[in-house]
Symmetry: C2
Amino acid sequence: MPSADVIREAVARYLKAVADGTAGDIAACYAEDATLEDPVGSEPRRGRAAIREFYAAIETSRRHTELIALRVAAGSAAFHFLVRTELPDQTIDVAPIDVMTFDEDGRITSMRAFWNPDDMAVRRHGQDG
Amino acid sequence: MPSADVIREAVARYLKAVADGTAGDIAACYAEDATLEDPVGSEPRRGRAAIREFYAAIETSRRHTELIALRVAAGSAAFHFLVRTELPDQTIDVAPIDVMTFDEDGRITSMRAFWNPDDMAVRRHGQDG
């Protein structure tokens, strides 16, 4: 079972990759045969290729992430965090609670994201001129 | 699958019972054959009698609960909340992230609490005289 420190580092690495990385960088935070269920209730994706494809959708936008609260228990973590996505005409904030399990090396073996579309806050940008 | 509103009400009812209720009141928030894993990694308890026994430990102390963040997805919820327990000589704060699933009537069918002893904040009370 990975230590609490390994898990805390793994969560920080994941949030940094979601903010700054390519889809490949984010997928590299996952174990080869990991599962991803985002949002909870959707069909889980399995394996790094499917996970990379999931993150490809956000790859081209400017993003910012912020950890709000993290709880670690027995090789797993639950954490509340903000993802801000900057699009040309709007800024989208969503702050899910994710639950993850990890392998010995701190790679994510499963991820489940609790949120629903009502949790999204969209700010349309003012128009100049 | 219970609606988001049913789940939000169920979480509010649970937090009120944890603050003000007897162990029986809290156990009544659970389905008859529910499971409880608190903290995550401990042996899960199953059934309302075992769940009632779990909460009997806190029944006699003064408690306060506060919802910090709640995310609902597909018949389940993840939420961050504070439990403050007032003992004669100290106040103990712990703010777990809980994950719950619910039946059609909003009764909890499973509960997993993510926290570890490092997350507890203990304030010893000053002594008078």
